[in-house]
Symmetry: C2
Subunit: 305 residues, 2 copies
């Protein structure tokens, strides 16, 4: 019987599970044997999310047992201990020993890490970062997070918190972020914050604006949207250039919904990043290839590493 | 006969060489068997500096041959190739194959790297970074540079340029740096730039002000010096906090002349760095222990790694 790898992704609002045959992974265009996605309902808790995920996994596996399990979690994780620290979206996730729970359920080895690190692994093994030894992956979405591959291996930092580019400060006189600082990359470049700034500037109810709409309005030439989107792109570019000066990666991979904001956005991000980096610090900036499946493919890589 | 390690340090204005017995290194308080320092005269070139260094080394070694040689260079180095890329201080250093020159001269294995990386190695092996697997070393002096130990090994980046914290941007509306950007850490926090800003603000000739004097005047309560020094400390703090968010090192070691600017400077640097880092990103900031000898001790570590 084929060896199966189970990949699980606990997002803030979505739960995804997929199964791939180990033999299929030699093909760079490997596809899932099965793939399920459910929305995490409002009122969900850690317990209901875990139960839903176990049901999805059993549905995909049938009577088979996975040889390895990889889990991506949308929040801080103690990678070494295999424990979720907390979720900013769903209650009840404080210090949940997720590795042990899944080991007990399937009697298989389990690895777990936060979604940015896992997505970085996914793009490195199966996507836009293949063959690159020194890689920064950044997702620009409802938040801004990142993960590192350094010297040909994942780098997580002393306590697993490396990659928090979203909360690097690029403008100390900028607007206030929920983290308490001013001018963080996330405060300036993430979708919801850009939507908030456009809504406030135009006197619109926040519910009527989204990051996607800001990009569409900017495309159509609406001045406030153009200004906010360009400020976001430049701020992200400074953050990426700073990261390049600090670590000298050879490639930066950008994923997440905000990266669909059009050519002008990409051009400003890349130009600002290159201007911020020293001339000797050269790197390319490329779009992620795996889309929403990056954490799942990363979970496969995590399980097998 | 004792096994000898030769350490050489090509600074911008000084040349240092030292010799240590390998057996002595087991003692954490190891001392040099011999140590020489010469100023690089004005009019010096790569050729005269290399000749002076070879003379110093032969003086220290007598008729003995070193088992290993480590070289620290004050400028960008291609570590893998063992080639100096250039010097910003002394002419003639473009693409000098320094490893080959010293291998030919002493028939011993030679390693060479830039001074920030080498000093980081020194503090890690022999100084304030002992026992720390994830370490950022930063020197705040005429420039601001840094070096990384990540996951228990030196990290140099894709092309050996990692650690350039001095040219990360912390205030895009700040003053213009020689690198072409505004508000780099080096532009705000290095000694000569702080001296320049105080001189301009007070209408003094630049030759009458130095980073050391700025610190002394600030200590005495002179308002301009206080403002410039505090701005520098806060800017450095943001840079260190950003680096901590990105890489999550467990310790940051600060060296260089500007770190002698007094308690208020240290307090502001540490406070700003901790405020900039996320609460989960914890690290300590400690003074370097090896002083001017950090690159020499680092060269010893480099030679033996």
């Amino acid at each position: 019987m084929a060896e199966l790898i189970l990949a699980c992704d606990f997002g803030g609002t979505k739960l995804s599970a997929a199964v791939v045959e180990a033999d299929a992974l030699v093909d760079p265009q490997a596809t899932w044997r099965g793939h399920l996605r459910r929305f995490s309902p409002s009122g969900a808790s850690a317990q209901t999310d875990i139960e839903t995920m176990l049901v999805m996994a059993r549905e995909l596996l049938g009577s088979e047992r996975p040889s390895h399990i990889g889990i991506s979690f949308g929040g801080p994780v103690d990678y070494k201990a295999g424990v979720v620290r907390l979720s900013h979206h769903v209650p009840g996730w404080q210090n949940v020993p997720i590795r042990q729970l899944f080991t007990d359920a399937f009697l298989s080895p389990v690895e777990v890490d936060n979604d940015a690190n896992v997505a970085a692994l996914g793009e490195w093994h199966f996507g836009a970062g293949r063959g690159v030894a020194d890689l920064l992956y950044v997702t620009v979405s409802t938040g801004v997070g990142g993960g590192w591959i350094l010297g040909g291996r994942p780098y997580r930092g002393a306590t697993g918190m490396a990659g928090e580019i979203g909360h690097t400060v690029v403008d100390p006189s900028g607007p206030l972020c929920l983290c308490g600082k001013r001018g963080c990359v996330e405060r300036l470049a993430s979708g919801p914050y850009m939507a908030q700034d456009v809504a406030e500037a135009r006197g619109l109810p926040l519910a009527q604006v989204s990051g996607k709409l800001v990009a569409e309005w900017a495309e159509a030439g609406e001045e406030t949207a153009v200004a906010i989107l360009e400020r976001g792109a430049k701020s992200l570019g400074i953050g990426l250039g700073n990261a390049a000066n600090l670590l000298n990666p050879s490639r930066t991979v950008l994923g997440g919904g905000v990266t669909k904001s059009g050519e002008r956005w990409w051009q400003l991000v890349c130009q600002t990043a290159k201007e911020t980096a020293l001339p000797e610090v050269q790197f390319d900036i490329v779009p992620a290839q795996l889309g929403d499946d990056a954490p799942l493919w990363g979970a496969v890589a995590l399980a097998l590493l």
